[in-house]
């Protein structure tokens, strides 16, 4: 869970800039990844198959991508061991999980630096709505983030 909180903190910081105490408290209770990975397994395979290594991203974006991909790789290994809730935490399919779980360090770096921009999308609206709630309600909202309609 700590890894997920760290990842969500980086994702939120990337899009929202600085995080205040309400954001931090909200993130402590958020049970799913705030970044949505919306790329198909075929798209990932196609990009990995490109022989040429490109550096399209600035370092902060590449670091964000790398942290996400490393977390997803570990989560996918949990899925392979029967922990299917990791698919829900990441919002990905089994097929995507199989590709992400088998990424090598080199491939993680290639995707992190070579992807055009962040590899994930961020649902800022749902988070801002949750953070604006009273602390007690915000905890419930963060836990129920999986049940939100995600609009970026």
């Amino acid at each position: 869970m700590d890894d997920l909180i760290q990842l969500n903190r980086r994702i939120a910081k990337h899009w929202l800039g600085s995080l205040d105490a309400e954001h931090e408290e909200y993130l402590r209770y958020t049970t799913v990844c705030l970044g949505q990975f919306s790329h198909s397994a075929a798209e990932l395979i196609r990009i990995l198959a490109c022989a040429k290594q490109e550096h399209l991203n600035a370092l902060p974006v590449a670091k964000l991508n790398r942290q996400y991909l490393r977390f997803a790789r570990l989560a996918a290994k949990d899925v392979a061991a029967g922990k299917f809730e990791m698919l829900i935490r990441l919002g990905i399919t089994l097929e995507q999980g199989e590709i992400l779980g088998n990424l090598t360090n080199l491939e993680v770096n290639r995707l992190a630096f070579g992807w055009s921009g962040p590899i994930i999308r961020f649902a800022s609206q749902a988070i801002e709505r949750g953070v604006a709630l009273h602390l007690r309600a915000a905890r419930h909202h963060a836990t129920a983030f999986v049940a939100t309609h995600l609009a970026t």
Binding site: Y29, T93, L135, T148, H149, A151
Partner: protein
């Protein structure tokens, strides 16, 4: 535990082990015997045996369906706003578990996987806010009222999206929506009301001390 496709049969040797794993998982989750029999085709005597072997007790007694759809959606003496949020979380897990593969998955497998995911997602909140979580038999009943477990067209519960906080929560189809507002927003409003009350009584106490 591998996802069991919808068209797999328990008597198919390729899936027999997966169905036995499913039965074990349902037993460990505390599912009633009827539910296990329905999803695994195991006879009642075998389910009882598995229960005794894995948990040392008989399967829980009582009917599979208890209460009504209102229990899961309408705030009342027995249904808190927090437990309505629990229903929303479980339904979201169940929906998402249905889209993890391109081929439809068996409903018993989906129920168990979604229930385990739900338990995992609500762990932190349960420890800090001591909320009451759904058990697997309540989760099954909730799905039935939502029409997931039957092919009937008439469903008693459906999801509604809150325009304020974006949470999707269950509401009773045939009842006024005014009495079925968003549970998260209800907790928020209640907390604000209590903090305003506390502030007002604090101000009153300070005024009486000065006079």
């Amino acid at each position: 535990m591998k996802p069991i496709p919808e068209n797999a049969r328990p008597d198919d040797p390729r899936w027999a082990v997966a169905f036995l794993d499913l039965a074990h998982g349902l037993v460990m989750a505390g599912a009633k015997a009827k539910i296990i029999e329905r999803f695994t085709d195991l006879p009642h005597s075998r389910v009882k045996e598995v229960y005794k072997a894995l948990r040392g007790v008989a399967p829980p007694a009582g009917p599979v369906m208890q209460g009504s759809a209102r229990y899961f959606a309408v705030p009342s003496k027995n249904t808190s706003e927090a437990s309505r949020i629990q229903c929303a979380i479980f339904l979201a897990c169940y929906e998402r578990m249905g889209s993890v593969t391109t081929t439809p998955v068996q409903r018993g497998w989906r129920l168990l996987a979604a229930f385990n995911a739900y338990l995992s997602l609500t762990e932190t909140l349960m420890q800090t806010a001591s909320i009451k979580r759904l058990d697997i038999n309540q989760a099954y009943a909730l799905l039935t009222y939502c029409g997931f477990m039957t092919r009937a067209n008439a469903v008693e519960l459906q999801l509604k999206e809150c325009p304020v906080c974006s949470i999707n929560y269950p509401v009773v189809v045939n009842e006024q929506l005014n009495s079925q507002g968003c549970p998260v927003c209800a907790i928020h409003a209640n907390c604000l009301r209590l903090s305003h009350q506390a502030a007002a009584s604090g101000r009153a106490a300070a005024t009486s001390q000065t006079t």
